[in-house]
Symmetry: C2
Amino acid sequence: MMTNKINENKKTENNAANNSVVKLSEGSGGEEMEKLISTFEFFKGDWKHHDNDSAVLDKIVFTTDSYVVTPIFFPGGNIGKLAFCGTVNDLSVMGANPIGISLALIIEEGFPKEDLQKIVNTLGNLAYENKIPIVTGDTKVVEKGKIDKIMITTSGVGLLDEKIGALDKKLNAGDKIIVSGTIGDHAVALLSKRFDFETDVNTDSKPLHLEMAGIRALIKQAKDITRGGLSSVLNEFCERENVSMMIYEEIIPVHAGVKKAVEFLGINLYELASEGKLVCICDEKKAYEVLSILKKFNKDAQVIGEITECKKEGSPDVVCQTAFGKKIIHKPTGNIVPRIC
Amino acid sequence: MMTNKINENKKTENNAANNSVVKLSEGSGGEEMEKLISTFEFFKGDWKHHDNDSAVLDKIVFTTDSYVVTPIFFPGGNIGKLAFCGTVNDLSVMGANPIGISLALIIEEGFPKEDLQKIVNTLGNLAYENKIPIVTGDTKVVEKGKIDKIMITTSGVGLLDEKIGALDKKLNAGDKIIVSGTIGDHAVALLSKRFDFETDVNTDSKPLHLEMAGIRALIKQAKDITRGGLSSVLNEFCERENVSMMIYEEIIPVHAGVKKAVEFLGINLYELASEGKLVCICDEKKAYEVLSILKKFNKDAQVIGEITECKKEGSPDVVCQTAFGKKIIHKPTGNIVPRIC
């Protein structure tokens, strides 16, 4: 049943192999997407960019993300939670304090108001609890069939800590790679709802601004794990910073339910999205202190590897030591799993 | 044919009269939408709000808007132009210099890359020509049928002029109301494409930051005319500022092609969207100077009326003097015209 659905998905993809139209895989956060958006050339003024997740001008950090997840309600959260946390996290990993979030809703005519209210309440509660205000918005309603239920775009503005600035410090061999908790929880929670299997895994969607405020003076760089999972994040670090890295499979924190789902579904753990975890990189000497702080928020935080060297022509970026030898962690390609954020 | 399509649209609306679901009219920028979003209560922190179009914190202005227009290409522009100009204008009318725009694309699988490139090029050229950078973005691709072609959400950050601050000065009886050019052009250009009639009217979609930079030291407040047309803008001024106003039909600038379409289609001129026009209000003594500046950009700029008095219980907000007597300009209700931005 599940396998059928996954296969159907692959079929759709193959049907659209025509290169003159946009393919599903070109929005999956992997290599194809990079290629698609590489044709977008915009005047960027004086803003600085580390990747496509946010931009920095003086002390201002600015980011945006659309959320098109199916289903919109899933174990532990809903599309509103994803949108709030995703934007807060994009600002936070740059070293910024989020100061304001915008909320743009596109709603299908006939969408239940009760569901809308649940989503809006989730957003409202998160804003209130985290004291990160939702300051401006837009609401569009489109004819039935023109959109699938509801899609949300949140943007965010943050201000950098004056003393620390943007987190874009140079990475060196020996620097430690730390994750803030188990990986892949969000993807499995979502897949359990889509493919109707039992699991005790909930989405890990959460705002990471407090974790980041705790560690930002100690680390060199950070990224939250979203589409494309750990594979995307680690490969992006390597490409951008021109380094290679080694991670150790046995110490990567994974929820037992995620492990089970990965085996059961035959999917790649490293490509599964989290929505409330980050990877940070710091000098070896600071790793213990960073880990202690992260463990206060989540006991599963762990050092998972290190920067090995400057990138060499032809050598792999991300190598993973497993019980059976070394394997390369490639940047995801194709449709990683069905839409999950 | 045209009337049929408009009627069909009304039918859909009636079918969804059930109040437990979201209706099309609740996203039209009129009274129903206000009621719907009045249930959204968010923590707003220290940000100041004039309405739902933008928020101000110290010198920072922040805004967002989604664009779901059909068709996506129309006389004189496309959805990308609307998105860029709409966000620039929301910042500009608050008195801010736009410093950065974010671009979130949600694309339907199978969407022609040629069309995507056209839209992206339009955005790129506008950014370059106007020196307003597009600094961050997001691209999502969703399965065929889950969205109608492409939807765009742009957000924007602007900085207020230090000397002038936010344009929220108190309105008084006698203040003049000025429009920066003809009204309703965008709606008619779009309708001509949807209902297949001939017209020489193009969208008026354009960025208004230069106009605003020219007049912002001289005026009290401004708003760009979008969904809901002049009716929405003027009624919003009245509600927010607790004033009434009088406008004069004969001097309101209208393109001959728009006049013709309004008669032909039996639609309300005052409810038609523009996408590159603004209404500003200034002290009577400064009206001539403001008008002279606006006329440099568009010879059709015109003083169209004045603030009459403080609002009185039960008296209308916006009165329009016509050749046949006075009429009240109500805030739009229902589906103004099919989706136009």
